[in-house]
């Protein structure tokens, strides 16, 4: 069995994913793209604070003014690329980077909804939320595959020490 995401000799990427996975990515991206906003609880996690301290509220407000529109465009664009290319067998590097960003965002949004924490055990299969937890796991695996294949193109010093 060949890798689900593989770099081709021409510098593009071959994608082998189950049709059901592609459908989920397309649907979630289409649904989320128009709703992205720092004021929307569901997508709030895509706008992390830049200044954490209580005495930094002024700087935080300035940062938000500067970047929030750009963050909305960045995320929306990535979701649009995934919605448009969800069925593609071959992606350009730029498209794969958009996939990586969008899949990461989908995972964060879903994680927020499920209120996941780091050492959470997998839910009981009978749990009504079990399918969504499985989807969360799947998005994490996809993200890992994409990071691994894209990181293999980085010069050695760009790779984190002790990376898997």
């Amino acid at each position: 069995v060949s890798a689900p995401i593989r770099r081709r000799r021409d510098g593009r990427y071959a994608i082998k994913l189950d049709p059901s996975v592609r459908a989920v990515l397309a649907t979630m991206s289409e649904q989320l793209a128009p709703t992205i906003s720092p004021g929307e609880p569901m997508t709030r996690r895509l706008f992390p604070p830049a200044y954490a301290g209580d005495d930094m509220q002024g700087a935080e407000a300035e940062y938000r003014n500067l970047v929030d529109n750009a963050l909305v465009s960045h995320h929306r664009q990535a979701f649009n690329v995934v919605a448009d290319t969800a069925q593609a067998d071959i992606l350009t590097e730029s498209e794969l980077n958009a996939w990586m960003s969008a899949v990461g965002s989908l995972r964060l949004v879903l994680g927020t909804r499920l209120d996941v924490s780091e050492d959470m055990a997998a839910p009981d299969p009978e749990d009504p939320m079990a399918p969504e937890h499985a989807l969360y796991e799947l998005l994490g695996q996809l993200q890992y595959l994409m990071i691994e294949v894209l990181a293999s193109q980085l010069p050695d010093e760009g790779r984190p020490e002790g990376a898997l």
Binding site: M100, L108, E161, G162
Partner: protein, 40 residues
């Protein structure tokens, strides 16, 4: 770099406020929980 794995946080960049905001923004594009603070 592994500090973030073992300790939950790591310093990955330092410099002027403008430089730090740009680096933080690039991490925010990927949804990473990056914050900055003035160095003392």
């Amino acid at each position: 770099m592994l500090d973030v794995h073992h300790k939950g946080r790591a310093v990955v960049s330092s410099g002027t406020r403008e430089r730090a905001e740009l680096d933080v923004y690039r991490l925010h594009e990927h949804g990473l929980w990056a914050t900055m603070e003035p160095s003392t």
